[in-house]
Amino acid sequence: MTDRHNGPHDGRSPGRSMVVENRQAMSFQVRREVFVSRDILEREQRALFDRCWIYVGHSSELKSPGDFRTRWAAGRPVIFCRDRAGTIRCLINSCRHRGATVCREREGNARNFYCMYHGWTYQLDGSLRNVPGEDAYPPSFDKSRMGLVPAPRLESYRDFWFVNFDREAVELDTYLAGAKEYIDLVVDQSPSGRMEIIGGVQEYDIKANWKLLVENSVDDYHLIATHATWLNYMRNSGVNVAPPKGSGLLLATKGLGKDLGNGHLTTDNPNYRGRPVARWISVYGEDAKADIDAIRAELVGRLGEARAARVADTNRNLVVFPNLVINDGSSVTVRNFFPVAPDRMHVTAWALGPVEETEAQRARRLHAFLTFYGPGGFATPDDVAALEAVQQGFAAWRDVEWNDLSRGMARNDAQLDTDEGHLRVFWRRWNDLMAAAA
């Protein structure tokens, strides 16, 4: 067997590959150990989360100076905030004195950040403003060098902000590669090019390895089995979810799985399940038809027929390597997730919509969101159940060593969304970065 990736990076015993691809034999296997090993999780932290661009938040979450959100990025507690001058910052939420978090609320508007342990106070740009009893410090104590530590790099693309803990990392713009086009397709739904995170966050744990959610987010092969009840709901609502007769397809339309470079990947599917911008289905009700037609007309006027059709008539589930997913399906959801143990992840999910939406349009978007997505939706809970079942199965990783991801490898033309070509994109990148850091 030709082994594309055997090297010292592959585990405790040299030559023990985690991802094995053989293009001639058309096989692609991932060793199940990568989902259960604490050692691999620690190496992922260094090789991926400490070196890749990690999504931290959206401009719309920080409307005014002083606005802040506390969250986690790449395993660090951070404050994502807008300072007095209006500059967006990402500061590590840890007092320079003895370590306590200096902002403990989820979100709000602050004048400064105050450490409740000894009372050190920081300005919104991170600079240290006040130290109680400052005269007891030796002359070498330099307040100007004791501000909150910013994430080493903070850059944005179309209001999506990312941090990088590797000072030497390539620019975000370069890193995103082909993913930019797919972010554009989302943002172009807004006439002004301004999308906003809608209030109400969904934060839930899945008792499964984080990489399983990467796979699941773009794996359209699982739809029929895992989401049988959602498909049934669509059918009951008058939506045609059947594959065209004789097409050989599993789903109602022929979608693709695409490699966007640098480990990013997406599905790109002709829509059959409705889109608030802008494809009417019966679930929305007759009275929504004219409104959706109007949204469509605005798109065509602004973007032209072809581009409007790209924006309005396709569903795209995008993975920005390693852990940001933007699903532009029955609604737009932005979600990222972090491992907390090999068999557990924290998921955070938001809804995203054009700032111009009317109340009725916004209500329709949120209704459509909950039809499929989220911990109370008709689909996501079954994804969670599936990933947890997978993780349970991995307890036998020593006996059943490999996952098979060869689906579609014999296909001569483009990989379908129900193939695994785009999943293989993730795993190749994962393997390369793990190797580079070894």
Partner: protein, 166 residues
């Protein structure tokens, strides 16, 4: 609370309804449960970070109108509802029941809940929060026009999904 609508209901009658509902939900008798609802009933679970928000402007965990609620019951009865197959064992303890006011012909009720959910493999979760009900008399029978289950947890976290009816 000295309105005719509120006077026409006793806390005991409200408690009977809520306890009966709890028994039906814990017993997965979902068709019988649907019969307790009005024809235009709604069911909400607000997001943990914005418990008092409005579902039209805020992303909820669940915001079902009666159409989607009927579909939710169809889903929950289907063995392909993987998140609830086999169905969870649940036990709901409902306390602090109060009739808190009226709005038109609706009776407003508040209660606290603690719902234990068990699944095979030692999984035990406790969903704690408060209910806000709007009840209406339909043909003399007290029915549920709206039920809102507001969780106290700061985030769903280890509660994972809300795949059964809270």
């Amino acid at each position: 609370m000295n309105t005719p609508v509120a006077n026409a209901v006793s806390r005991a009658e409200v408690e009977d309804l809520l306890y009966h509902e709890a028994e039906l939900l814990d017993g997965w008798k979902l068709d019988a449960w649907m019969a307790l609802l009005t024809e235009d009933a709604a069911y909400y679970v607000p997001p943990n970070d914005k418990p008092d928000a409005d579902h039209r402007f805020t992303l909820f965990t669940i915001a079902d109108d009666i159409v989607r609620l009927r579909e939710r019951v169809i889903r929950l009865k289907d063995p392909n509802c993987h998140a609830e197959y086999p169905p969870s064992r649940t036990r709901r303890l409902i306390t602090n029941v109060r009739v808190v006011g009226t709005e038109g012909d609706a009776i407003l009720v508040a209660a606290n809940f603690s719902i234990h959910r068990y699944r095979r493999g030692g999984t035990h979760q406790e969903f704690v929060g408060r209910y806000r009900y709007r009840l209406r008399r339909v043909g003399g029978v007290l029915k549920i026009a709206e039920r809102r289950a507001i969780l106290d947890a700061e985030e769903l976290g280890a509660l994972g999904s809300v795949s059964f009816i809270l």
